[in-house]
């Protein structure tokens, strides 16, 4: 991911599975709110935090123990960050986002407008995902605890393209395709 450009992500297809390696920044509700407040006050991002051509991972991890880089760190529900998506994509140079669950229309439009992507990791596989995280450090907002902005270095973190640069969302096309197939358990 460290050399990824906007041109690279243009060809990513919805449903495509990818292994991510490199550095990710994290953040969820409280961090986004703080960023919005900083921008509203005419200030810039905290020192050391630069989203240019980076991905953000929506996560609030468990603290590490022993030789873990970080404890279980699966994705949180991205829909809650929909209202911050335009801000992040237009003002921070953010390339894409990783989370879980569907994005709403507001976020999908922002993704289309900025030719960005949204990837999903599997919720409920948090320990497995954390095995892909080789190092973790807090970059900003330590007072937020698990909601701080971390930098994770990942290796082969499995994700799926959920919204491509054209705004096609697997959470819409998936159910349409599988609707009404009868399964009895």
């Amino acid at each position: 991911m460290d050399k990824l450009t906007r041109e690279d992500i243009q060809t990513w297809q919805p449903g495509e599975t990818i292994l991510l390696s490199g550095k990710l920044l994290t953040g969820r509700d409280a961090a986004h709110k703080k960023i919005a407040e900083l921008f509203a006050q005419g200030q810039s991002l905290p020192a050391g935090v630069d989203f240019t051509n980076r991905f953000i991972y929506y996560v609030g991890p468990v603290d590490p123990v022993g030789d873990e880089a970080v404890g279980p760190a699966g994705p949180t529900t991205s829909t809650r960050m929909d209202k911050f998506t335009e801000m992040m994509l237009s003002k921070t140079g953010l390339l894409g986002m990783v989370g879980k669950a569907e994005r709403g229309p507001e976020a999908i439009q922002a993704i289309q407008r900025h030719r960005s992507v949204y990837l999903i990791a599997v919720g409920g596989a948090a320990y497995l995902v954390s095995k892909a995280i080789k190092s973790a450090k807090v970059l900003a907002f330590p007072e937020l605890g698990m909601e701080a902005i971390y930098e994770f270095e990942v290796q082969d973190m499995p994700v799926t393209v959920a919204v491509d640069v054209q705004g096609n969302s697997v959470h819409q096309t998936g159910p349409q395709q599988w609707r009404n197939i009868k399964v009895s358990l």
Binding site: G15, T17, A30, V59, G60, P61, V62, D63, V65, E68, G71, P72, A73, G74, T76, T77, T79, K100, A101, E102, I120, V122, G123, G124, A125, A126, Y127, L128, V129, S130, K131, L144, G145, M146, P158, T160, V170, H171, G174, P175, Q176, Q177, W178, R179, N180, I181, K182, V183, S184, L185
Partner: protein, 287 residues
């Protein structure tokens, strides 16, 4: 009259609660794993199959590594039944004891869990650092025993809880289907829906939450067939919701549901979740 009931002590309640919460953080219940295994076998969408495989692999790794199944280790919900003949040591405060157990579990040195609770939710929202306070529901019952049933309920699923006041002629199954459709994937399907029907608004929601604690037996029910209205409803809801095609992680799913009926009016609430079955999203429908 039997006065030989043991005295219930703080140390025992605290240790039991702490041990239970630690246990729950890294073990799925067997019935959930079996249901998920069956879902994997039947799943036809490759993306959803992959998601279920990751969840099952993760579950095994956590059982072996004794680390949490999900980064969201939940809000603790306790259902407490206190026997009116139970005896307690001096100065007993069962809520404080339960919260002490939560504190110990969540700040455990070898397996720390995530502190997800804030105080002053409408104001400063400061993390309480030890995941207290728990949400505690208490009933006074006959007998001399105390039962505590614990759930570590994840936020993703809790955020999906829905309540409705339906009319007697409204279609419960259709309401549930429309709610599940709108719930999206934030509750990590595949999972369990808990439904409460009847009583009053708060009773319906409580019943839905409680219904999540029951064993997963939809497959057995389907095999033996429904023998009462509630079982019929369970099967109808399961079929209707599975036909939505939402799936594992929003891509396809099956789920088990349980439903309790109770009264005459129609509040309905709903909760669900998968990462930790006790974290199930409750859709409580109170009828």
């Amino acid at each position: 009259m039997n006065n030989s009931a043991a005295i219930i002590r703080k140390a025992d309640v605290v240790a039991s609660v702490a041990d239970a919460l630690q246990f729950m953080s890294y073990y799925h219940p067997v019935d959930f794993i079996q249901a998920l295994g069956a879902a994997y076998a039947q799943e036809q969408s490759p993306a959803a199959k992959d998601a279920i495989a990751q969840i099952l692999t993760n579950s095994r790794m956590c059982a072996e590594g004794k680390r949490p199944i999900c980064q969201d280790t939940g809000i603790v919900v306790a259902f407490v039944e206190i026997g009116l003949q139970a005896r307690f040591e001096e100065g007993a405060d069962i809520e404080a004891w339960i919260n002490e157990g939560v504190r110990l579990a969540y700040t455990h040195l070898d397996n720390p869990l995530r502190a997800s609770i804030v105080s002053d939710p409408a104001g400063k929202r400061s993390n309480t650092k030890d995941n207290t306070p728990a949400v505690i529901h208490t009933r006074a019952v006959p007998g001399n025993q105390v039962h505590v049933m614990l759930a570590a309920k994840g936020g993703g699923s809790e955020n999906k809880a829905k309540l409705a006041m339906l009319n007697p002629s409204d279609d419960i199954v259709e309401w549930i289907a429309s709610v599940v459709e709108d719930m999206g994937a934030g509750w990590c399907p595949p999972g369990v829906l808990g439904i409460g029907i009847g009583g009053t608004a708060e009773k319906a929601v409580l019943m839905a939450k409680q219904s999540l604690m029951q064993p997963i037996d939809l497959a057995e029910l389907r095999q033996r067939g429904a023998s009462n209205r509630i079982e019929e409803l369970r099967l109808q809801i399961a079929d209707r919701v599975n036909a939505l095609g939402i799936g594992a992680q929003g891509l396809w799913f099956d789920y088990g549901i349980r439903c309790q009926n109770f009264g005459l009016s129609h509040p309905c609430s709903l909760t669900a979740c998968s990462g930790n079955p006790q974290l199930c999203c409750d859709a409580s429908c109170t009828l």
